[in-house]
Amino acid sequence: MNIPLPDLTPIIPEIIMSIVTCALLTVEVFVKDKTKDFLGIICIGTALAVMYMIPMSQGVTFGGMFISDGYSSYFKFIFLISLILTILISFKFIQREDAEFGEYYSLLMFATAGMMIMASSADLILLYLGLELMALSTYILAGIKRHDTRSNEAALKYFLLGAFSSAILLFGISLTYGLTTSTNIYQIAEHLKQGETSITLLIAMIMIICAFAFKIASAPFHMWAPDVYQGAPTSVTAFFSVGPKAAGFAVIGRVFFIAFESLQMDWTAILIGLAILTMAVGNILAIVQTNMKRMLAYSSIAHAGYALLGIIAGTTEGLNAVMTYLLIYAFMNMGAFAIVILLEKGENIKDYNGLSKSHPLVAAMMLVFMFSLTGIPPTAGFIGKFNIFMAAINAGYTWVVVVAVCFSAISAYYYMRIVMNMFMKPMEAEAKIYPNPANGAALLISLLMVFIIGIMPSVVIGYTFQMFM
């Protein structure tokens, strides 16, 4: 029997990622501890090469299971950006944290490959495969500090709850398959367009929503996030808060806009509820946190809530706004985490007291990221929120936007508190910083992008859309 080889062009980026990662895993044994940074540099090089390749490898392959189009390319761009920034902030940090195992970089690469497969999958089974590749890597990453109980706890919690959500997802997928006799997203859409809806279908869809809500840390499926974010090493937390979340939005966009298009009324209603609850939980609980990483965890929950508004809008404008938002969010959040990593003690909010006196430049950068996360012009955060809110208003969900703006105002409280601590509170102890070129590069990239996107959004956004879509 002669099985023809499927067209591999569209999947080449993922293949390269996987091969390089496997190679790294084997080579890592022979690399001395001193030179492990080298592995990270290879990863960055690979990521850049893959980023360059993505626009050239478009197409559908594997019998319609794998699709590489503008949409997936753009998300892959976001994943790779967050991967590169994560590696940059990791170099010296994981040595400090005593977590420098060769598999650290490999796991980051595997997780990214998983996300890329998620973004490209046109089939629920492939989607699940990518999701698990990502999830399993992230579980281990959360527990990479083997001797730290918090890190272990985070990994275990993440794993068990993740398994729980996977079960829900599989349940939803199997119900969908039973009703539509297909797992292909486009065939499901075809089938559903014939007007057949049933309670079972709704149940299936709700289960899929809930599983995805877990991935983007949307309330009430967010509870893992604060514990995991706090327990995991900070660089890993930075990665979690951007990559997997973006991947979650990538599949939400694909599955709901295409497969469940005919049920838009229903999922919109559910997502509105989830979005408002998410914004409420994220913003309100962020206020009472005293730990920086926990606060940023809740803040990332809140941001998932804002981003959901773009999905709720249900329009191309909304989807584009979500994509832009996630890109912007990647830069500003990575920037904030880079500062946390830069400080010797950056875990507690009171560690930031009087930072402007001991390290004015660091404080000024943190100020920019906090402004951006709040959404104050001329930073990129404003543009992101503006686009999302505008898309939702144009789609007729003005009241949801009003709610979102109120929560956004609340968010100013906890972001500005950091600023106030840095600039107005007296210094308690001289803060010690660990500057290094890689972290500096990550900070510089984030800072520049926050300003450039904030000041000339249409140029940058237009360019990235043109490049990848």
Binding site: M223, D227, S458
Partner: protein
């Protein structure tokens, strides 16, 4: 996005600002280099641009759009036409000279680098204001120059009066900008665009539309024009919002010269000139502009007659001259208004910088009654100050004469309103000559009236200050030569240059009448100077005699018509009373405090409760997820009727 060199004109000062504000503290005393180089770059580019415009090139393009949402588009764009080209020259040249002058004047100041970075920021803002091709950018520049003005007036913020003056300028401008803001909104609502070209292309559609406000039918065009004019009144210190400018003299003198004489305060005139198609459509608006200008110019000139603070006299003179420019715009002579703006920038900046040089020698003394005879101690300052005074007085041959004459002649030709403002303008010309020479005679002539110690200190200022004075003096003499009227053998180049943008009013008067207008204004100016000479040189007893005889008039003028007191009683005190009693006591104390403290408290309490859900137990989290799924499922099943 096309990058062209025009972008660099405002960008260079911005870069200078960024560098100095961040790193200035490391090289304190050398901060001026970066600032001066930045402005010099802008100036050279402006000259190049001006030459291009002179050759007939008009640039209008969007650099990029910041936010686009439906019709609403916020872009950064440049419109460089004849009007902008003139403004570019004015702003960059005066700014450059003031920068250089400040090297000497601000020497040894503890905030040296801060001062230069603010000057750069101001220059950037002002250039954004004049180069923008849309109202949004104008508004941005408008607010930004206001902010810089606030920073610089309150530059010596440890001094209470300076801090207060900064606040006063900012708050008084709020009143005008409120109207201006509404005007901008109305333009957008009715024309759905903020770009000048689109606005002017569609403006005729507003003709005849009215809007009902409190039962009055008001023409839309008139309303928008007057709202925009509100902003101009505030920024250009016209009645009734003129009160801030005199107090603004608390700022360092170079600031007064740059911001409060040559550039920022003329933004209002620029606005009216830029929107000339709009203003020209409404006779009412034109009349309001003309009369506001005329009355302000008379009002301020009379106050200037009796003041003793050298900077305040010049400040009132500025208010008066700005009134002149509005008067010109109001009679449709926009070109003449801009011409006067152009010449005024040089002689008024020169007056201020000369006053600064005097203050430098007198260790900060401002009272002209305590000066005298400075001529022999500081000849350069004296001669340049003299040139500026001759120029502003309107003596033929110097800059001020040509622009003032152009305005008076065009006003004379503009119907009834025109005749009225012509008469007022002519009177003001006489008063201007008088008070300008009053300063000259009291300061530079006669005997020194200060202490011996002060006399000992008298010296000419360093060359970094005198060179800008001399360059400005050249401007104060020759700036008017670009607008010599045909009657005097010229071709009125600037008028023709600006014609494509500002038009040219129809003139029907005869040559004889034009000669008459010129003759009257020259006679009046000479009369003013002569009177000043009599009163302050030859018969120094007369002023006191007059002061005693007309005590009541003198007191009213001395107290600037009690406008500050009026505002204090009608606005400031009631506001403060309401503020302290009602706002602080009830609204702030109970309601806002309640909300501000209550809401976060409530949220925090809420958060604490919620937080308890975050137990850390895995089982609870799994329960939470299951519960969430269950609730969503039940809600959907309940609400979806199958």
């Amino acid at each position: 996005m096309t990058m062209e060199k025009y972008v660099l004109i405002p960008l260079l000062p911005l870069i200078g600002f960024c560098i100095n504000i961040w790193f200035g503290r490391f090289y304190q005393e050398k901060a001026h280099w970066i600032s001066i180089l930045a402005v010099l770059g802008s100036f050279i580019l402006s000259v190049i641009t001006f030459i291009e415009v002179l050759q007939g090139k008009v640039i209008n393009y969007d650099l990029y759009s910041w936010v686009i949402s439906g019709n609403f588009k916020v872009s950064i764009g440049f419109l460089i036409d004849q009007l902008t080209a003139i403004m570019l020259i004015v702003v960059t040249s005066v700014s450059l000279l003031v920068h250089i002058y400040s090297v000497g004047y601000m020497h040894g100041d503890s905030g040296y680098y801060r001062f230069f970075s603010y000057l750069n920021l101001f220059t950037f803002s002002m250039l954004m204001l004049v180069t923008g091709n849309n109202l949004m950018q104008l508004y941005f520049g408008w607010e930004a120059v206001g902010l810089c003005s606030y920073f610089l007036i309150g530059y010596y913020f440890r001094k209470q009066s300076a801090a207060d003056a900064g606040k006063k300028a900012f708050i008084v401008n709020r009143f005008g900008d409120f109207g201006f803001g509404i005007g901008v909104f109305m333009v957008f609502i009715y024309l759905e665009t903020l770009h000048y070209t689109d606005i002017f292309a569609n403006i005729h559609t507003l003709q005849g539309q009215t809007i009902n406000i409190l039962g009055f039918e008001i023409g839309l065009v008139t309303l928008i024009a007057l709202l925009l004019f509100c902003g101009a009144i505030g920024k250009s210190a016209q009645l009734p919002l003129h009160v801030w400018l005199a107090d603004a003299m608390e700022g360092p003198t170079p600031v007064s010269a740059l911001i409060h004489a040559a550039t920022m305060v003329t933004a209002g005139v620029f606005l009216v000139a830029r929107f000339n198609p709009l203003f020209s459509m409404s006779e009412t608006a034109m009349m309001v502009v003309a009369l506001t200008g005329a009355i302000t110019s008379l009002f301020a000139a009379t106050i200037a007659l009796v003041q003793n603070d050298i900077k305040r006299i010049i400040a009132y003179s500025t208010v008066s001259q700005l009134g002149y420019m509005f008067l010109a715009c109001g009679v449709g002579a926009y070109g003449a208004g801009i011409f006067h703006l152009f010449t005024h920038a040089y002689f008024k900046a020169l007056l201020f910088l000369g006053a600064g040089s005097v203050m430098h020698a007198m260790a900060g003394q401002l009272d002209i009654q305590k000066m005298g005879g400075l001529r022999k101690y500081m000849p350069i300052t004296f001669w340049t100050f003299m040139i500026a005074s001759v120029s502003i007085a309107g003596i033929p041959g110097l800059a001020g004469f040509f622009s003032k004459d152009e305005i008076l002649w065009l006003a004379y030709n503009a119907g009834t309103v025109g005749r009225i403002v012509w008469v007022i303008g002519t009177i003001v010309a006489g008063l201007t000559a008088f008070y300008s020479f009053r300063i000259v005679f009291l300061t530079f002539f006669g005997k020194f009236k200060g202490t011996h110690e002060e006399e000992h200190h008298l010296h000419e200022s360093p060359s970094s200050m005198t060179v800008p004075l001399m360059i400005l003096a050249v401007g104060a003499i020759s700036a008017g030569w670009v607008g010599i009227p045909p009657l005097l053998g010229g071709t009125n180049m600037i008028g023709h240059f600006l014609e494509p943008v500002l038009g040219h009013p129809h003139v029907h008067g005869t040559h004889a009448e034009e000669w008459m207008v010129i003759a009257i204004s020259v006679v009046v100016a000479l009369g003013g100077i002569f009177t000043a000479a009599v009163m302050y040189l030859w018969a120094p007893g007369i002023p006191q005699l007059l002061g005693r005889t007309f005590r009541s008039i003198y007191t009213v003028l001395w107290n600037k018509y009690y406008v500050d007191e009026l505002y204090d009683y009608t606005i400031v005190r009631p506001t403060k009373w309401i503020g302290s009693r009602i706002l602080v006591g009830v609204t702030d104390g109970k309601i806002i405090e309640g909300i501000v403290n209550g809401v976060p408290k409530l949220i925090a309490e809420f958060g604490e409760r919620f937080r308890k859900l975050q137990t850390g137990f895995l089982q609870h989290y799994a329960m939470g997820m299951a519960f969430g799924l269950f609730v969503i499922l039940s809600l959907v099943l309940i609400f979806v009727k199958q």
